[in-house]
């Protein structure tokens, strides 16, 4: 009975719809906005004629101007990273000394005092603890400086201006202008960036935004870039300019990420995801004086500590895995040794090495643990090969550069290509899961993982080949 009536209602509605015409939707919208205008007219009193503060307008003209928009963006980004790198150097070294030498020594003494079996103290101290200690000392100082600075820029209202500047480029790439916003969301976390693509109406453009979000450097990857920039790129510069070189190299990779976002978007919108670019209006919010103390507090507590916590949680099991594969031997060589030997040919071909590739496999759950994994694997492998020659390798005093160059055989090319590969590889498993949840498509999730990985192998192979041909490496 009810069903019959429902059917009749729908039929009536359809008949009436035909009578009234199709432009009803627009007519209703117009009526609503006319009503809104009338009500606002009565309620709002303006003291002056100008709607926005004059310096707001002036600042907007400057920050979004064709001539100065991009240079200012690069300048602000470089300044942010310069402050981060210059400020994080000393605390990072101190924390490294504290956690990896002092505390590490105490833990081993304590383990000896209670006669803990070697495999237990190895697994817990040399595996789990050391991985967490590396994450802590490598990530905490730069993040504690970078996040508040970035949040201040965000709070002030600068990000929508960046979006405004990039909008033209996204249009030209056949993508949605709002993708610039989702891209910046990805600069924090790619999983969050993928979820934020919900603001894009058209499924085609939304998919492009999802597939390219990985080209935004995320929380987990900034520390890798900052560290590589600091100890390898900065080292090539005169000491006074070291931090600037380092910052410039990090910004270069971030900008390269934007370039890849645009290129891949253009490629997708001309091949598998063809269609018209849709229009939207981007609101430039007023500049608001940043609340410095509150920003410091929330970005330290919410962002830094939450990201650090996630990294530490991921580091603990990874540390155990690293210790196990380094200490379980098959035919006299550790499992890690076998795996590294297996991956070395490909790794060296693309200017990386087997350890780095193995680290990227171990670190699929979180990019945060790449550096600690690389360092621990390098050290463990060096230890066991030296031990076979009867030499005990003592833990160096936190000198990452020494460990990597002397025991890992790293060159400048390795560092540059690691920075490139950090930008261009598969998203972490959390992001992949999010992509699957948002698209409900195994195919697009696979594309999201394989596309950047392919580009990454291509790009690093290219730089490695050039470097070899030029005789640099």
């Amino acid at each position: 009975m009810a069903e019959v009536n429902t059917q009749r209602l729908l039929e009536t509605a359809e008949r009436l719809r035909a009578e009234i015409g199709t432009e009803l939707h627009d007519r209703l919208s117009e009526a609503i906005y006319a009503d809104a205008a009338r009500i606002a007219e009565r309620a709002v009193v303006r003291a002056g004629e100008e709607r926005r503060l004059s310096w707001d307008i002036l600042l907007d003209r400057l920050l979004t101007s064709r001539a100065f928009g991009f240079p200012i963006m690069l300048l602000l980004l470089t300044a942010t990273f310069w402050i981060t790198i210059a400020g994080a150097n000393v605390p990072s070294a101190l924390l490294g000394q504290l956690t990896q030498v002092t505390l590490y020594g105490w833990l081993h003494q304590a383990a000896n005092a209670v006669n803990a079996p070697w495999w237990l103290s190895g697994l817990l101290i040399d595996g789990v603890y050391l991985a967490m200690a590396w994450v802590f000392s490598v990530m905490l100082p730069p993040m504690a400086i970078f996040f508040p600075l970035f949040t201040l820029l965000e709070d002030f209202g600068y990000l929508p201006r960046v979006a405004f500047n990039l909008d033209r480029l996204f249009k030209r790439a056949g993508a949605h202008g709002k993708q610039s916003l989702t891209m910046m969301m990805g600069w924090g976390c790619n999983a969050a960036g993928v979820v934020s693509t919900r603001i894009i109406d058209s499924p085609r453009e939304r998919l492009i935004a999802i597939l390219t979000n990985n080209f935004s450097i995320c929380n987990g990857r900034w520390p890798t870039l900052i560290l590589m920039g600091t100890i390898f790129i900065g080292a090539t510069a005169p000491p006074a300019l070291a931090s600037f070189y380092a910052a410039a190299s990090v910004v270069t990779v971030a900008v390269l990420g934007i370039v890849f976002t645009l290129l891949v978007s253009a490629f997708l919108s001309r091949t598998w995801l063809r269609g018209e670019a849709s229009h939207f209006s981007l609101e430039l919010p007023p500049y608001r004086p940043p609340r410095i103390l509150q920003t410091l507090y929330t970005s330290l507590i919410d962002r830094t500590l939450i990201v650090l916590k996630r990294a530490m949680i991921m580091a603990a099991p990874a540390g155990a895995v690293i210790w196990l594969i380094s200490n379980v031997t098959i035919g006299g060589t550790s499992v890690a040794g076998h795996l590294v030997a297996l991956l070395n040919p490909i790794g060296l071909l693309i200017g990386l090495n087997g350890v780095i590739l193995l680290a990227y496999i171990v670190a699929i759950p979180a990019n945060e643990i790449i550096i600690p994994t690389i360092l621990m694997l390098t050290l463990n492998l060096a230890r066991s090969s030296l031990a076979q020659q009867g030499v005990m390798l003592e833990m160096e005093d936190g000198q990452i550069y020494e460990v990597l160059t002397r025991h890992g055989g790293w060159t400048l090319l390795t560092a540059v290509n690691l920075m490139l590969f950090s930008l261009l590889h598969n998203p972490c498993s959390t992001t992949l899961l999010t992509i699957w949840q948002e698209t409900r498509s195994r195919r697009w999730t696979a594309v999201a993982a394989l596309l950047p990985l392919t580009i990454g192998f291509g790009a690093t192979l290219l730089t490695a080949t050039i470097a070899r041909l030029m005789g640099w490496a």
Binding site: E14, I32, A43, F156, P286
Partner: protein, 278 residues
């Protein structure tokens, strides 16, 4: 961490100490530990009007707030106690309209319609009221259990814009409360108004659309009659009639699969609607 329970004494700001109106009943921010609740409040509004800031001020949560539109795309939930009533607060994605063109608009609209919040706070930007009123009017078509938060009043004042909250309240038929969420100003007044609406103590006046088109008016009237006969007790028959006339896919579906019917029978209690927005 983010779930701190904090009881805010009535001396939170200097102005609050001397104010008799708000010294009744402390506000307790419950963070994510809501437990059971008496009322569900939805928080709607245009993007970048300070919705998330208000959400944080009300719940004591520290959802990340950014000065850019489109930051909140999923639904966030939190809780608070005010005058011994427990409220569950749901922060909807910021939208310019409820025409359901995109996923975030649909999340907001579906929750207002099917989630049936006891009160909806529409957060508006006092510095550009006219544009914000579009959404307000659309929300009012769905429900009259609404409180308008006239936010960013401090910024408006700095720019020499004055908004007459009483005139606005008279025109809209619902309470309008000036706030400056960044400083926590007006929060208690806002909650008092929410309480009044939740308890049904506020004499809300339903706004009716004025039709200039005779044929349209007749069509709407005849559809309303059928809808009310079919779904007695449905609170927004006029809105549904208009969507049917527009051929709105998701409403047509709701009529067909009986979702609308359930809504009319009182349906699920507010907030417990099986609506997943992730």
């Amino acid at each position: 961490m983010a779930d701190t329970n904090r009881t805010i004494a009535s001396t939170e700001t200097a102005a609050c100490g001397s104010c008799t109106r708000c010294s009744t009943g402390p506000l307790t921010r419950l963070g994510v530990h809501i437990g059971s609740w008496d009322f569900v409040i939805a928080l709607a509004g245009n993007p970048n009007t300070g919705k998330s800031t208000l959400f944080n001020a009300l719940t004591g949560l520290r959802q990340h707030v950014g000065n850019w539109p489109g930051k909140t795309v999923a639904r966030a939930e939190g809780g608070l106690t005010f005058n011994e009533k427990r409220y569950k607060l749901i922060d909807l994605p910021g939208t310019y309209s409820l025409l359901s063109a995109s996923a975030d608009e649909e999340v907001a609209r579906d929750f207002l319609l099917f989630g049936r919040p006891d009160v909806t706070i529409v957060v508006t930007d006092a510095t550009c009221l006219e544009r914000n009123l579009g959404l307000v009017l659309q929300v009012l078509e769905i429900t009259d259990r609404v409180v308008i938060a006239l936010n960013l009043m401090d910024e408006a004042r700095r720019r020499g814009i004055e908004v007459d909250a009483r005139s606005l309240s008279r025109d809209l038929g619902v309470p309008v409360v000036p706030t400056a969420a960044r400083r926590g100003a007006g929060i208690r007044e806002l909650l008092s108004a929410v309480e009044e609406v939740a308890l049904g103590a506020y004499p809300a006046r339903r706004r009716h659309l004025r039709y200039t088109d005779r044929a349209l008016e007749t069509a709407v009237r005849s559809l309303i009659a059928q809808i009310e006969a079919l779904f007695p007790g449905l609170p927004n028959a006029e809105w549904v009639a208009l969507r049917l006339l527009e051929g709105d896919e998701s409403i047509l579906r709701a009529v067909q699969d009986g979702t609308l019917g359930k809504l009319a029978q009182g349906g699920a209690p507010a907030g417990a609607a099986p609506l997943e927005a992730n």
